[in-house]
Structures are given as structure tokens and as C-alpha cells.
Symmetry: C2
Subunit: 217 residues, 2 copies
Amino acid sequence: MSQPYQEAITVWIVEDNDDFRQTMQDLINSRDGLRCPHVFGSCEDLLAALNTEFAPEVVLMDIGLPGISGIEGVRRLKVISPATHVIMLTIHENNDRIFQALCAGASGYLLKMSSTDKIFEAVEEACKGGVVMNAKIARRVLNMFTQLSAPKWDYGLTEREQEVLHALVDGKTKQQIAESLFLSFHTIDTHLRNIYAKLHVHSRSDAVAKALRERLV
Amino acid sequence: MSQPYQEAITVWIVEDNDDFRQTMQDLINSRDGLRCPHVFGSCEDLLAALNTEFAPEVVLMDIGLPGISGIEGVRRLKVISPATHVIMLTIHENNDRIFQALCAGASGYLLKMSSTDKIFEAVEEACKGGVVMNAKIARRVLNMFTQLSAPKWDYGLTEREQEVLHALVDGKTKQQIAESLFLSFHTIDTHLRNIYAKLHVHSRSDAVAKALRERLV
DNA sequence: TCTTCTCTCCCGCATCTGCGTGAGGCTCCG
DNA sequence: CGGAGCCTCACGCAGATGCGGGAGAGAAGA
């Protein structure tokens, strides 16, 4: 795993605990191919530094920072420097925060009590464009994924009704829908009412909301 | 990695290529702790078998099957047996299909030219509730993730307008919104029109669609 | 065969909506 | 102080919508 690099990978650390920050910095600097010239106690400091310095390849960021949180920090950092890989540091395997951090653009995730090998591996993997996640975290992400896309309740909409619903979501009026489907206005009206009944809604906005939320479109 | 199991893990294989299927079956059966009593040439056959037999712990499923595709296969299999872990088999690292398969509930992903060790590892990892993804695939999944949740354009809606938009998405009429916010009907009307202008839409359905799609709510 | 389902079309009416226009009060900022 | 921006409220009107009814045709299934 440990290979000499042409140029050392630059790593920055954002961590409010002084001891842990120092330990991590020493650890990174002790590794051939990695260097950690800067550490920060807050996202604010990190973001300020980006005004005067080139962004590093990798940032190790505590997920639970005072002020701008690690999650918001990732978001902002990625806006300024999308190429920078951010690995979150955390004590607990908190489902929600991992999720949010990953959504915000984090490249992975390390427990603070990880072995040094794991840490090096994560940094190097991140540089190669990979994502550091253990299998369980991956599963959690996937679960949320599935949940997010799976529901798809079946309300027994007919094909025509699906078409009409589609057009509805596109913001068309009944008349426009009628024209686009080469049907009478009254037909669309009937379909719409049947759709409402099947979706248990009473207005087009409700129908649109339900269709989009439950991915019926 | 190779440990003896109390009871062998049952693996089924769904793969339309006869040779590859046979090779995989032999491979699985050659491994201590794994057994492959059934193989199928199509999802249809697999699903039929589930009517008469207990579902296996793991299914290796070709992603590109004729008839019911592997992706649809996962979806249906997971409905019948949510506990079964499905690992997709594929030749190409096709972004879209991986994504769909994972959404459908797949526990991971194997290239057909994977080493035997990788295959065993994947099956055993899947059984432990993990997800088998290489770092690059994980990155792709995360990218789609980010894309899915990041957009959040800022249309400069005021707080009141956000509230009204919220109520709109809930399917309320102007009158109902007015009542729930203790405002006049006319006020809501004005807010609504300002919202339309800011979102560049011309109807409530359009506004609801935009709000939901771009996660303004 | 008869029923059910789906798709199609129609009428009428109370209500809701989109939009033009105007206006008063508030706060914030230069 | 004056303007800008936001929130509030108001009138009127053409057009769209939701919903009550009714009805015919064809396809699928019991």
C-alpha cells in the first residue's frame, strides 16, 4: 500500500480538538507521500485560507464542528474547490450525518479511532477518485437510496391516466393536455377526476405533489 | 478470509450464458461454506422457483438478461424475499444500470472478470449485510447522490413566499392558505404571483413541480 | 352471455385561479 | 430624507377548474 509518490499529497485538517488535530497532523507528516502543512480549528478558518492558498488534494474534516458544521463546510469547500476530496472524521457512526455529508460532496468517511493504516489508505484512495466507505456504511447509503427511489406505490392508474398525470406535472392546462393527446377537453376532465379519486387527492397541485413525491411520473 | 461456516451459504445464479453459469456454479460449489444448488437462465425461472423453494441467502444475477432484466429481477425478488442479498454480475461498468440495480435493492456488484477471491469475498460480505462496491463505483453512486440532492437553486424567495409555496405544495387553495397563515385571500394571491414570477412559472402545478423537483420545500 | 373496466365524450354550475392594477405601512440603507 | 424591498390588502374579470350528473363503444373476463 505504501508507495513513494512523485509529489507528496497535500492534506489539510479541520478539527476543533487540539490534541486530536495535532496527532493527526503528525501522523500525516510521518507518512511518505503525504504532507500536512496546514491545520484548522474551524471551517471558517479553512475557508478563509482558501482565499490565499491553493486548495489541497485532500481535507480531513471533523463532522461535528462548532460554527459552520463539517457538513456545511464540505458543501462550501466543494463550491470553491470541487477537485478537493473531503474525508469526514467522526466518532459515532451516525446515519444521518454521514448521509448529509456524503450528499454535500464528501468523498468518504473515517472513524476517529481508525487504525493509521486505514487513514492512510483512505487518503490515498480518495486521491485516486475512490470513496472510502466500509461495507456497512455503503449499505446504509444504499438503503437510503432504495428508500428514496423505491416506494412507487401502485394506485392502479391506467395508461391514459398516467399520460394525463404526466402532462399535469408538466404544468399543462386541461385544454393543453387535450390538444397534446388529441382528445376532447371533457375526456381529460374525466381522466383527471379519475386520477384524483385514485390518488385520493382533490386538486391538481395535490396530484402533482403526490406524483412527484412518490415518483409516479 | 476463508472461514468454515456452520451451514453453507446458499447461492443461486441467474445468468443466460450457459458456459459462464456453469463455471460460476462449479466455482461456488468448490468453495467451503458456499453451495449453489440451483441456477437459472432467466429471472422468470428464478421467480417461479421461489414459489416452491425457500429463497437463498444470496443470488448472483446477470444485469443484462433477456425478458425480465436483472434490474427488474432484483426489484421483484426483493419484494418476495427482502432478506436475500443480490449481487449483480456485469461485463461493463455501466453507470446507469449499476445505479438502477442498486436502487432496486441490489447488495452490490461484480465484474464478470473478477478474480475468484473477489467473488467469494463479495458473497460473504453480502451475507454479513455489507455492500460490495469498489471505490470507483461508490464514487459514482455518491456523485449521483450529490447531483440528486445538491441543485437547490436560489430564486430569492422571501420567507413568507416560502411559507406560501409550502402550503401550495400541500395542495391547499388560496383561501385555505390565507386561513392557515391568518392573512387575507388577496395577500396570498399577491404572494403567489410573486412566487410565479420568481420561479418563472405560470401556474400552481408548475410551481409545485418546480418546488418539488428542485427541492425548494 | 353478461358484467366490468377503460376510454371516450358531453352539460352545467359554483368556485378557484391568473393577472392587471393600485395602495398603505414597515424596515433597512445610503 | 428618499428610495428599495417586503408584507399587507383590495377590485374586477376572463378563463380554468372541480364536481355533480349522463352516455356510448370496445375489450377483457367471469
